[in-house]
Amino acid sequence: MLKKLTLGTAFAALAAGGAFAADIDVKLGVLNDRSGIYSDIAGEGSVIAARLAVEDFKAAEKGINVEIVSADHQNKPDVGSNIARQWYDQDGVTAIVDVPTSSVALAVAGITAEANGVFLASGPGSTGVTREQCRPTTIHWTYDTAALANGTGKAVTLAGGKKWFFLTADYAFGHSLQNNTASVVEANGGEVVGSVNVPFPANDFSSFLLQAQGSGADVIGLANAGGDTINAIKQAAEFGITQAGQKLAGLLIFINDVHALGTQTAQGLQMTSAFYWDRDDTTRAFSERFEAERGSKPNMITAGVYGAVTHYLAAVEATGTTEGETVTAWMKANPADDKLFGKVTIRGDGRAIHDMYLFEVKTPAESTGEWDLLKTISTISGEEAFLPMLPECDFSAK
């Protein structure tokens, strides 16, 4: 016991004698859905990704003491807000990470700005995070609905899917995804012939699919996510909608969803993502480590958590503080060479700019393994994928 203690002190002294005189305490609060519809997509996976990022960054050796806490926001903005407030006011959390479900994320972004913390958003999809409700202390790392629309929406429209009908999850994210996609469709010569707002979450999509079928649209756009998308795709196959000639466009599909559907049902479906585990040796190596702990491959949200946390720690190391506006200013001024996403620059509004990819789900014959699910169709450059910055949201000059 005594031996361990002395050893520990020796190590601590060594660490402190390194680059920094004083240690910095960082507390990351991973806030996401731990039990509901998005718990497979983010949930514990985001906590694991954050931990791997801290390990790889060798934070302890650099004099940064990192503690990770996590909580379940149950996809409810009020629950998420309460946790965020408590984390900043009482528990000394310095940054909140992930936060899928846009309605919760928008609430957390506001609280983070007030507390001068940092919001490392990987989970939410709404463009509002860096536009209508932009905050100086938000970094929106992984994707947003505009990028998804510019990927899948554009590709499908240009391939001849001119008339669109939307099945839209009836909350902030679904509406944002529908609006973004509709403008991309119209900009590329298509039209929107109808839409229906589906209560969230839903089990049975048959009524809505039937309405979509009756609309005479070429493409049924699924402006939803997670279990909703899975059920909609499954039931569309059942009702012979795709055989009858209508196409499905899943506007936000995660690798976990494709895995749950199986290639038999999902084959040929096009989807946009910021990350696929089987892209190069680095992503494969990371994904293997992740899978060993999580039991599934990482998706773009968990990969984004890894990247955002790594860049955040670099900013803390460089600035020597956890004070929100200083840290985010550094993150915006210094591009990241991300292991998983490649080159990432962060604009003044907090939007991280990087390549997105258009994928197609492999056929059962093409797939060689349980997670061998996607093939790359095209790369969409960051400039093309994301919306331009709103002038009033440029916080970089400060």
């Binding site: 839903a202 279990g227 038999q264």
Partner: protein
């Protein structure tokens, strides 16, 4: 008349049919609840979780030992029913002399535990379960494309519902059951094993939930929350129909499925709450439910 609202009749026909299909699930589930409440006085809140177990049982039978859909349609309800028998013997039979509330709390807790266990092992995205070969494809009815599998769901549900109603209301066995719950001492005096009868009744009610789970597996992804999403609606159905009324459960099950389907056409945003609106109205006007006997 409906065309005035902008909905062509053939679309309406399609929606009615879809409502009927959803109603089949409501009917089979609320029937199980009604049987259990009517004969045991237990408000079985774990019904949704047991429905989910039925779906998982069929998935496991297929993926672990290669038993397909048709045998699973018999085996999965038996497995879930057997589990129900164990539950009844170990836990529920301690509660019969207590207030309803205890049974409700116990079964609610059980539901949370079951869902938690399955979520922990299988995640939330769900497991794929294919429609059996013999029922894939569908019929073009002119106004809609009806998948064969959904047609089968209606047929199977109607048969099961009618069969259950017939056994309980029209046979000697049903008469014993009803008498046994009215006056267990007297019926016991005739040499009938009342506790066993109650256990088997609970097992049967639970097996109905398992059966609905197997029916649902190929349509919805097999996932741990599938019961939780449904159970509240099913309870509303039971309340509207009248707690414990077998016929009420069946008729309101199918009827509310149709009402919900129509709401999806005329006001989709309201489809998630329409059943509860109806429940509120029914409770105001006829608190014992549409088919219930005044307490």
């Amino acid at each position: 008349m409906f065309e005035l609202l902008g909905i062509p009749p053939q679309v309406l026909m399609g929606q009615l049919l879809l409502g009927l299909i959803n109603g089949s699930f409501y009917a089979v589930l609320s029937l199980g609840l009604a049987v259990i409440f009517g004969l045991l006085n237990i408000i079985n809140f774990s019904h949704g979780a047991l429905y989910m177990m039925g779906a998982f049982a069929s998935w496991m039978l297929l993926n672990y030992i290669g038993i397909g859909y048709w045998p699973a349609l018999i085996l999965a309800p038996l497995i879930v029913g057997a589990f129900g028998v164990v539950l009844e013997r170990l836990l529920l039979n301690k509660l019969y002399h207590l207030d309803h509330l205890y049974g409700l709390l116990l079964t609610f807790g059980l539901a949370l535990i079951l869902q938690g266990v399955f979520r922990n092992y299988y995640g939330i995205s769900g497991m794929p379960y294919q429609i059996p070969e013999s029922l894939s494809g569908g019929q073009n009815l002119g106004f809609m494309f009806l998948p064969n599998y959904r047609a089968w769901v209606i047929v199977a549900s109607v048969v099961v519902c009618f069969g259950t109603w017939f056994v309980i209301e029209k046979t000697r066995l049903g008469a014993y059951l009803r008498a046994g719950t009215e006056n267990p001492v007297l019926v016991g005096a005739f040499g009938i094993n009342v506790p066993l009868m109650i256990t088997l009744t609970y097992g049967f009610g639970v097996a109905l939930a398992g059966f609905a789970g197997v029916l649902a597996a190929p349509i919805y992804s097999v996932n741990p929350n599938m019961g939780a999403d449904l159970i509240i609606v099913v309870f509303a159905v039971v309340v509207i129909g009248g707690m414990g009324s077998i016929l009420g459960a069946i008729i309101t099950g199918f009827g509310l499925g149709i009402v919900e389907g129509l709401t999806r056409v005329f006001y989709p945003e309201g489809s998630a709450v329409v059943i509860f609106v109806i429940m509120a109205i029914v409770l105001l006007i006829k608190p014992e439910g549409l088919f219930g006997r005044a307490a």
